[in-house]
Symmetry: C2
Subunit: 398 residues, 2 copies
């Protein structure tokens, strides 16, 4: 909610408005932009001239003519390849980095071991990795718009603080600032789910949605709730934690330490555990194995996946009743659970949700390879890209 305004605030609003439209409906002419934004052609000319000078936009003289009997329009598009972003996924023992252009296309990626967790050391390693990335991609640091960092835990994204990241043993670490200083680039951090949601919002399945839910199923289970184009974080940044809905008073122990959380019944480790309780002879089974068993009609495997899928569907139906989103996107390693899991989930959700709230609701599972951290890093890059599109400003030299 913008509250204050001097005339330049108007410019910012109109810049972002034009960027948003271009991002959504591809290359269009200035005249069309004027119609879609409600601005006058004169203003559109002014704003686009500015953005072209900043290399955020380009003219595309694609002669795919409008032979309508008048001057041909000059198509304007976002210049996705004039600037670049770095995205990093921090996990317990690994540091995955990607360099992308503004369309989030991955140009380079590098994976390193993360051997130390001491914040300044990590920041230093990150800075070094950033340098490697742009050297290898032959990109000038001047053309980098910033660094996005994704990590699990409680994150204060607004202030760039890792409030509580148990896998790294971090509490109240101002990691964004530290990285900014070492890299001389603006930096943003957020948790996995929100990074994933940011990428889906910019160029993914939620590109045209104003309000949607992104659900990440991996080690944990969490949601990002996007309300009017903005992530709703809640009072303590705790919004979206439906994975910790308590479904049984003295149920299975969850990663959070409590008992009976939904997460303890629906994530991959949970599924393996539940299956092994019934079929201890399959000790050492992996998720792909389990899925394969189910596909081979192993009733035990089918039942485990079905039960968990239906349970997840039930709780998503509660989310749907509460939010009535335009769509739901699923991501994370859990995507590899496939239809044996997601079909029961869909059926349960559609059967339980109120009235028509779920009948037309798109439920999209984004493909994800097991143990592939690249999409997470790409999501992290979108934190930086998102900032550029949402503010219309490139913060060169943090």
């Amino acid at each position: 909610m913008i509250v204050k305004g001097d005339p330049s605030a108007l410019r910012t609003m109109n810049r972002t408005s034009i960027l948003r439209i271009l991002r959504r409906v591809g290359p269009i002419s200035r005249t069309q932009l004027a119609e879609l934004t409600g601005l006058s052609p004169a203003s559109v000319s002014g704003v686009t001239a500015e953005l072209i000078a900043e290399k955020l936009l380009v003219e595309q003289s694609i002669g795919e003519a409008g032979s309508s009997g008048g001057r041909r329009p000059i198509f304007i598009n976002i210049d996705y390849s004039a600037h670049f972003a770095i995205g990093l996924k921090l996990s317990e023992h690994r540091l995955e980095g990607v360099l992308t252009d503004l369309s989030l296309k991955v140009l380079t990626h590098i994976t390193e071991d993360l051997t130390e967790h001491e914040p300044t050391r990590v920041a230093a390693q990150i800075a070094a990795l950033c340098k490697k990335l742009y050297k290898r991609a032959k990109v000038s640091p001047d053309d980098l718009i910033g660094v996005g960092i994704g990590l699990s835990g409680v994150i204060d994204a607004v202030n760039g603080i890792a409030v509580h990241a148990p896998l790294l043993g971090w509490k109240q670490i101002k990691i964004a600032e530290m990285v900014s200083q070492k890299t001389n680039l603006p930096s943003w951090i957020d948790n996995d789910v929100n990074s994933f949601a940011a990428a889906e919002r910019l160029f993914g399945h939620a590109k045209h949605a104003n309000s949607f839910i992104a659900i990440a199923i991996g080690r944990g289970l969490g949601a990002a709730i996007i309300c009017n184009g903005e992530i709703h974080r809640g009072r303590d940044g705790g919004a979206g934690e439906f994975g910790h809905n308590k479904i049984l008073l003295n149920g299975r122990t969850c990663s959070c330490g409590r008992q009976g959380c939904l997460e303890a019944y629906t994530t991959q480790p949970a599924l393996l555990g539940l299956f092994l309780e019934q079929f201890p002879e399959h000790q050492g089974i992996s998720i792909p194995d389990l899925v394969q068993l189910a596909n081979a009609q192993h009733q035990g495997a089918i039942s485990v996946l079905e039960t968990a899928g239906a349970l997840l569907g039930q709780h998503i139906s509660y989310l749907v009743n509460a939010f009535n989103p335009e769509l739901i996107v699923f991501g994370g390693e859990g995507a590899e659970l496939g239809d044996a899991f997601f079909e029961p989930m869909r059926q349960s959700l559609r059967g339980l949700a109120f009235d028509g709230l779920a009948t037309e609701l798109p439920l999209i599972v984004v493909p994800w390879a097991n143990d592939d951290f690249t999409p997470w890093a790409q999501g992290a890059a979108s934190l930086a890209v998102q900032h550029a599109f949402d503010t219309g400003v490139l913060l060169k030299n943090a």
Copy 2:
């Protein structure tokens, strides 16, 4: 999300910004306003002069001096008593109307029977009631900012359409437009929960909250989800329908026709039904009777209220995990269920919600007399008042 802007859009933003601050932090000086809004003193002078001319603000020469050694500030306040709003609660057989000032103080109220449901007749009766209200209150129609109408059902508040109001047998009725024409006043409609939420947001317990949940317990059970100061309506206007979370596949029949909805276990008719199933000898019991029995240690009554309260608490914990609101306000006739119901609800909620999300969460039950429709009508009035404060514009002569 404001997307377009000519310079006058700036003015609008700054007007609403000033109005919002004044509504929240009472009478303050122009200088303080400048600090709080971030505007220059010059601009504040300009905007306030405009708003004073429109009688939305007044100077209050309350000499409660700032003897700080300089010129005394002139306090500015919203002129709550220069304009008035009408609020109407439409129920099956009753039409309750109130006339309030901008602080939602009820100056006059009139109740009438509603004998016909044909939309034009209803609109005519509404128009007549409006006239009675402002005549009796000795208010000039020129000083009325509009009419708010609250009714149960699926409402398209943006376009003023009663999409589906089963109690009145309405489908796709453009009631706001009809009332506007007959009364020559701008009109707004919304459902009960959203009207209640609007009132709480403006001057109630949620006055200082940006994101909160309002829950109305009456005949039905519904929530309004306020995200960043705005009601989140969802794709089909179905957001907040957590009362229809399905808790049992073949459970009790709900007013919506489905089975096993939460609403069928937690609203007043449901509680009476559940109690009578166990104690048929109490045929004809009312809610106050039931509460009294519980207070007199009748174990059956206690158990019914406790069970329902705990169940509601469980589902509110799901809402809390998903939204992490700043507070929750409860309203509606259900408020009379008292602590026998709300204490188990609170305990259940606090016990089940994730981590600290509910420990510090204010849970406020707004007092409500059984069968008192005045608060609903007052809430409806807030739909009109809300518009004035949110846009900073009074639409005289619809």
